[in-house]
Subunit: 193 residues, 2 copies
Amino acid sequence: MTKVLLFLNKGFETMEFSPFIDVCGWARNDYGVDINVTTAGFTSVVQSTFNVNIMVDKVINEINIDDFDALAIPGGFEEYGFYEEAYSEHFLNLIRKFHAANKLIVTICVGALPVGKSGILKGKNATTYNLKNSYRQTELMKFGVNVLNEPIVFDSNVITSYCPQTAVHVAFKMLGVLINTTTEQIVKHAMGY
Amino acid sequence: MTKVLLFLNKGFETMEFSPFIDVCGWARNDYGVDINVTTAGFTSVVQSTFNVNIMVDKVINEINIDDFDALAIPGGFEEYGFYEEAYSEHFLNLIRKFHAANKLIVTICVGALPVGKSGILKGKNATTYNLKNSYRQTELMKFGVNVLNEPIVFDSNVITSYCPQTAVHVAFKMLGVLINTTTEQIVKHAMGY
């Protein structure tokens, strides 16, 4: 079975988490693809940006890296506390461990920033939220990242992307990388894309 | 304040709920739009299709129709029990009350089916999930609905739509109808659409 860890830091955006659940879910339910998503957070209930409370499957200390093939990180709003958890050493270490084990790491929007801060993107290509004078891209550059102004960037084992609009396309891409591109296209079509 | 009731029946799809949270949230947080989303369900914790547990703000008996300007209904999978709640008289009555009070009703995918079953779409134009031999559109027709094969249909006070892909576009349209189209365009752009 292919297993994805979907990590929800406080203040994550629901539109940047839901595509991982549904894309993998449609693949499994409608097409028999052996893929599963486990949600995780610092606490057993994680409050999203705009205050939706979601109960996760695992808290951070229960995560065994060996159980997973990929780590997916949605972005979130600073006003809702996203960086309090996303920039913590505890989370940065989790990213470093996934990287050291050569697992796939997938981010949406500012989900790229903790990956940048962890140090694993030094000298690598990546992207993040592009609008509002590219202030988040400027922040990503400070971590020694070669920021590309492209909606989705895939370098080494890391996929990064712009914003809510790119979220579902990143989830499809993840499915393509983890399973195969035929499955990616079939599920994409069934979901109306 | 403009208020949206986002009703999550058991087995709702997360990609069809999240756009309402985020589109209204971005509008409020980044552009000062006075709009709020209240989540509701039959139980205080609602399990989605593919098993994500979400804590909602209100249970069905606590809903006062007068408090809201719109009712939003995501679709869901039959295998995860969607129709057990969505087709119940309790929920159909809620739809009828929103309709009788001339509030906006907005659905994604098979969220249109309980609206059809409630009887308020008789002789009206609407749509629902279009693929897999249009079996859901055939079901909607049985409720006396004039089913159009278009991604988004807006007739009288009801917006219906195809699938996960149309969800965010319906949320933008709802914002345009409830607030104005300038705001709709600004938020759409900020979210990368």
